[in-house]
Symmetry: C2
Subunit: 818 residues, 2 copies
């Protein structure tokens, strides 16, 4: 079994420079110990206790207990494991659907037999909704716990609450009675490390001590996170969305959505976000929600035994994940529909919506931010926007598109470097180095020191009259008598100018560091850093436009809508538009992005600016390359993902793509009644195809069906063990009746049961665009090519993907799995 | 050409009773005159001027000019009309898609030739967005005009504005300076008819005069509407959604989305809504928006020449229609996705969203209700809901489900009666009778007299302190000092009790009259009456719960959340939940319904009650029958609609469904190189199949392709006229090279060009569920059935639908078109 991207840990080069030594110690001494601990825990404790327990109550299917894909003994049931798939293989959607219909039919016909069966059938029908409820509850709870933990640990880097160490800075000062309204952030219970350790809160030495401890805490969190990921759950790294897209399109990656991944990803997510690295929790939350979905679907045989149905649950779980990540249930459903899902029937739409709602309400009742909102950066604006502002909004869209292109190109180049050079061998060291650089550069700048969500929240916010932030340091008119909500445009004060410089530096830093951070072996989301980049750029543009409008009321573009004393420009809105543009440039979302932003602001009013920026950003970014960051990572990893969005417009025919090509050896086929068991076994041994077409005879080559390799192996093994008279010389036949055999010949073996009598065929003249469409819409694994009834060849999903890569002038060998 | 549901007008039965005579006069004298006028206008004026104009500038495709489907002369181009479809036929999605790819490929390769071609290719790429913009603008404008006109004409039934007769009651009193705040509805400029005519505003005679004029105006509007529909655009009747669903699934109904339908539906919609009939404008607005979509797509050859691409535009137009009908752009997109669309790629999602937004903003800038909102019944609530309230909400859901079932059953029974009995022959009379009954019963009750939107608006509204409505006649605590927004629960006053009685009567009346109204030969939507039924029931339940909570604070269920003096129950919210439940019961929407309601209230807060009611209502209604009202009407009309939501779960195989059945004559096939032109012509004449499979020879029956009937006819006609040497004895061949013929035989005719070399095939063992899936997902017209390369039969979409009907114990003959 190959686990992708797993790097051998003991082959370090003896000529390594000094600093690598510490990495080697880490990799070779500490991690193996942890790994052993994990193995012990995993195999003995968890498997024996929990798994067996569940297996006794018949809740986990037998195949799952085998763990790493070994074949079971086939003594108990005639065909166990038939209908399951191997790791890193593609599922056959049509077959899964047909199996589910069979199951459903059986239950329906049984339900008429007795009351008990009727109740069971009702439970079966309701199990989908139950799974959704459970997913919503767990995903909402985990999101709440993560939010609370991140809040506490982020503050832990700066100080500690004396009254109760588990309080975050804000909670600590809430509970304190000595806090005044003016200075909500200061209270005696909350002590910075320098105050606690050397009793100094100001001055150079206190600053240096705090700085040092900030870096230490960050390193400590990051090291813990990367070690946990390396040892316990290598799949917990990254944002997970590329892999989830691939899995939802019908690929099997065992363990990717497992319980260990769920646990480790949740814990390490808290650690890395708290460590101050330039990453977000939103993408990984989708992965966490999908792990929840996978866990709960394994409790119901309807979902655990059918890979197609399981993917419906996962689609809904992804919606629940986005729902809690952004507090946007509708946006979550649309995100699942637009971005991650492959097969999204209407039933899944309803269920996704239900799961997303339950998750959002669970999170709301946990209320992690204490503001009855689901996210830190919820805002409400009070002033409308004006037509003339569309110009800066579209400019922000262009910026977002350029940022998206730059980020994708640089990040992919860096990740490719990581995969192909020695760099990839020291993931722990890489994480520590990046964390150190991030912490060292981030601390001095107030806009990078705080958590990125808080930064975004401050940038989105409109300046009220009581706002004490540096960004709101405007020069007030002493005669102002207007209500607090409706403040006219004012000239910027020195704080705003300082903030502009700091924001500009923070922007450059964020852009650079995010490129190196995304793709490291830790959980890392991209939404928050992208939004932060956009929000910073947007706020700067917003302040610029505001000052321009204030100082030049008489310019023709301002004259109509921006009279002196009016509140015409909202810099916070520019920040939000910029955030949407940058996120759109990187991910190429449009509708779901706008809906998420709409749910964040709660006003139909701002849809047009957001839409303008999102669409501009998509157009600009698409002009430089069609792939979003997730598709780019899928492509980098060589997953067999057939994108619904790509249009195939070339003039090739099925005959150009099918195997065997001209000059290649003829297609390996089975005949319906003339091959012996030994012939079949030799064929299986000599080739590694996933299945073989069955034809009438080698001469006529008329197709009668298709047999899966896996099922052939199982059936022959089973027959040899249990059926008397089946020997190597036995004739294998796929027809209804046994062929006429000479007397004394051994007992023939009938394999019609495993024959797929309705294999999918196209003619050799079928345009490839139709073939691609069929593969996409029906979710096929392979398709046979015929001409006037004669079998010519076979096209697999891999062949299709390779052909598409070739046509797009890419390396067809980059498609690795089938 | 058959137009469905068209009833001959001159066959009235001589034994008709007296009141039918007046109907006959209408039908036989007045309408024919109008019809002639229409014909004149249509044929001479419009066709000559407008159409020819467009045709000259090459903007309308040639096929459209033929109007009623006659074949053109084929002298100019070798194969005109190839690739178009006949009326009441199903399109082939795969072929349309492949044609579009060809076109796209051509443009892309041309675009490299010159700057001009490059600009043309850019324009082509942008034309989709331009069409969306135009649709949004026109749909928004039409919706605004309709709203304004309805407002004015509804008030015209009661009185007139003396200062300007084109002002509605509200506008009239706005512009008046003499209006006091307390009595906003009364101003001297606005005069009731009795005041104007006999100078009396009170008293029995004034009441009777107003009553009489109210009925007369209603009759007048209704008669005008039904006459316009009968004469100018028979397709303008009904809600249009069943037909649009069918069209979007790939059916051709020429003229259904034509310019005349657009014009007449817009005008008559205003008339019927103003006439006070129990119908709404929301469904027809979707039809109007789709007509706009069809109109604009006919301006761009990319869409006008490709039925598949055209349907993408129509899906987006439907979203724009709902967007303006409910002021809910996101809900509109989801409605199009969940309810009406068939093929909804992501690109369409983005474009739908854009069209919906543009439409909403156009409507908002027209601001027809003067409240900056897109709909009359926008509300904002101030109090949260409590867990215990879920019980009445679910009860409302059950009510909604029952109402949905009752309505669908009764309405379908009545419509079937209309189709099959003499009733259907007097549509004008029917409309007039129903209008008269509606007006007579509706006038005395204040809740039915006003327009249904206003009723819904009042029922949704929370009672503020200043509300003067009868429904808000609570007994106030004289010591109350609370702010106006937050009024504690109060005991009901006499007005509320009167309102309850009137609401109960109005509810019964609405339920009965809506059953008879929906399906008449006038534009009639179902959303508003359904919502009104639910809102009335909901408000009554809400008031009941409120009074219960007020008088029984100490009950255990109220004790926790409803202390004395608290504002715990919002009857308006119950009305909204009831409206959602009833609409859900009738249409079976869930997600889009909840999102529409969410956009109406603008609060995430109330999603759970709405969702609970919508899902309950769907479950209850589904328990009595799976079909929503639109599917029921599609079924009643026998359209070939393959519903995505129906699951096919039977165990039949392709061999059970294909033609020919056992014992039937063998399949009519063409051979690849042995039939003469005459043989082919005879085959075409003797059968009415849409196409013929082409096989190697009658003996081997190995399939090589499929030829469309329409294209065969065109090709042979064309060849006979233009190709020398092609006579009846010429051999028709479909192979690459001509067959070897004896000397002196006539010139053979090569028809490989029209042969589809990649017909879709399945084996005879393919389960029907897979076949159904393939038909649905790929949008096929027909599929050939083979066994080991030998052609056995054919399955058309009609066969699939008939088989599904048979399996569901319905009459398979109800599927009428192919």
């Amino acid at each position: 079994m190959h686990r992708f991207q797993k790097v051998p840990t003991s082959t370090a080069d003896p000529r390594s420079v000094n600093f690598v030594v510490c990495g080697r110690i880490l990799e070779n001494l500490i991690l193996p110990c942890l790994a052993k601990l994990h193995k012990f825990l995993n195999q003995r404790f968890i498997e024996i206790l929990l798994f067996r327990l569940l297996a006794d109550t018949n809740m986990v299917n037998a195949g799952e207990m085998n763990g790493s894909g070994n074949l079971m003994d086939f003594l108990d049931e005639p065909f166990p494991d038939v209908g399951t798939y191997e790791d890193f293989h593609t599922i056959d959607w049509l077959r899964e659907k047909s199996r589910d219909t069979d199951r459903h039919r059986k239950i329906t016909s049984k339900s008429k037999e007795s009351i008990w069966e009727f109740i069971k059938s009702l439970l079966d029908a309701w199990s989908g909704w139950v799974v959704m409820l459970l997913i919503g509850l767990l995903a909402g709870t985990l999101a709440g716990v993560i939010d609370l933990a991140v809040d506490w640990m982020t503050d832990l880097k700066e100080g500690v609450c004396l009254s109760a160490f588990w309080y975050s800075h804000e909670q600590c000062c809430w509970t304190s009675n000595e806090t005044t309204f003016d200075d909500r952030d200061k209270c005696p219970q909350w002590q910075k490390w320098s105050e606690l350790l050397v009793n100094q809160s100001e001055g150079a030495s206190a600053y240096i001590l705090n700085y040092f401890l900030y870096i230490m805490w960050a390193l400590c969190f990051a090291f813990l996170a990367v070690s946990l990921v390396r040892v316990f759950a290598p799949y917990a790294c990254g944002s997970g969305i590329p892999e989830i897209k691939t899995i939802l399109s019908g690929f099997i990656i065992r363990g990717y959505l497992g319980k260990w991944t769920l646990l480790i990803k949740t814990v390490t997510l808290v650690l890395v976000v708290s460590s101050g690295l330039s990453l977000g929790k939103e993408g990984p939350l989708v992965h966490v929600a999908c792990c929840c979905g996978n866990f709960f679907s394994s409790l119901f045989s309807k979902y655990s035994k059918n890979e197609g149905k399981r993917r419906e649950v996962l689609s809904a779980a992804a919606a629940a994940g986005v729902s809690v990540a952004f507090g946007a249930p509708i946006g979550g459903v649309l995100f699942s529909l637009e971005e991650v899902s492959y097969y999204f029937p209407l039933k899944t739409l309803w269920r996704s919506f239900f799961a997303a709602l339950v998750a959002a309400f669970t999170l709301r009742s946990i209320n992690p931010f204490g503001n009855s909102r689901l996210v830190l950066f919820y805002v409400e604006y009070h002033t409308p926007w004006y037509m003339a502002e569309l110009f800066p909004f579209i400019l922000l869209g262009v910026f977002g598109g350029l940022w998206g292109t730059l980020f994708i190109r640089c990040n992919i180049a860096w990740c490719r470097r990581r995969k192909t050079t020695r760099l990839g061998k020291y993931p722990v060291l890489e994480v520590i180095a990046i964390t150190a650089i991030t912490a060292i550069i981030a601390y001095p700048n107030p806009y990078t020191r705080r958590s990125t969500s808080e930064l975004i929240s401050e940038l989105f916010n409109d300046c009220g009259a009581l706002e004490s932030s540096q960004l709101c340091d405007y020069i007030n008119d002493p005669n102002m008598t207007r209500p607090v909500d409706d403040i006219p445009d004012r000239p910027a004060g020195p704080g705003v100018y300082t903030a502009m410089w700091q924001l500009a530096l923070a922007l450059v830093f964020k852009i650079v560091i995010t490129i190196f951070t995304f793709g490291m072996k830790i959980p890392s989301g991209l939404f928050i850093p992208s939004m932060a980049v956009g929000a910073m750029a947007g706020r700067m543009v917003g302040i610029g436009v505001e000052q321009l409008a204030y100082h030049h009321h008489d310019w023709i573009i301002f004259r109509n809508w921006c009279r002196p004393g009016a509140d015409c420009v909202t810099p916070g809105l520019y920040a939000m538009v910029g955030a949407a543009a940058c996120l759109g440039g990187v991910t190429r979302m449009t509708v779901s992005l706008v809906v998420i932003m709409f749910e964040l602001t709660g006003g139909l009013e701002y849809i047009v600016p957001l839409m303008a920026a999102a669409v501009t950003s998509k157009w600009v970014a698409d002009a430089f390359g069609k792939e979003g960051i997730y598709e780019a990572h899928i492509h980098l990893n060589g997953y067999p993902f057939l994108d619904v969005k790509d249009e195939f417009t070339h003039r090739t025919l099925a005959t150009d793509v099918m195997r065997p090509r001209r000059g290649e050896a003829p297609l390996s086929v089975l005949t319906q009644d003339s091959m012996t068991v030994e012939d079949v076994e030799t064929l299986i041994k000599e080739t590694d195809y996933n299945g073989f077409p069955v034809v009438v005879s080698k001469d006529s080559e008329r197709l009668i069906g298709f047999a899966q390799r896996r099922e052939l192996i199982l059936a022959i093994k089973n027959a040899r063990q249990r059926q008397d008279g089946v020997v190597s010389n036995s004739i294998v036949y796929f027809t209804e009746d046994p062929p006429e055999l000479p007397p004394n010949s051994p007992h023939p073996l009938k394999l019609r049961r495993i024959l797929n009598l309705s294999p999918f065929t196209v003619t050799d003249h079928t345009p490839m665009e139709t073939v691609v469409d069929i593969f996409r819409k029906l979710g096929l694994r392979q398709c046979l090519v015929t001409r006037s009834g004669r079998l010519l060849g076979i096209i697999t999903k891999k062949d299709v993907l390779r052909h598409m890569a070739q046509m797009a002038n890419q390396d067809p060998e980059s498609i690795m799995f089938n």
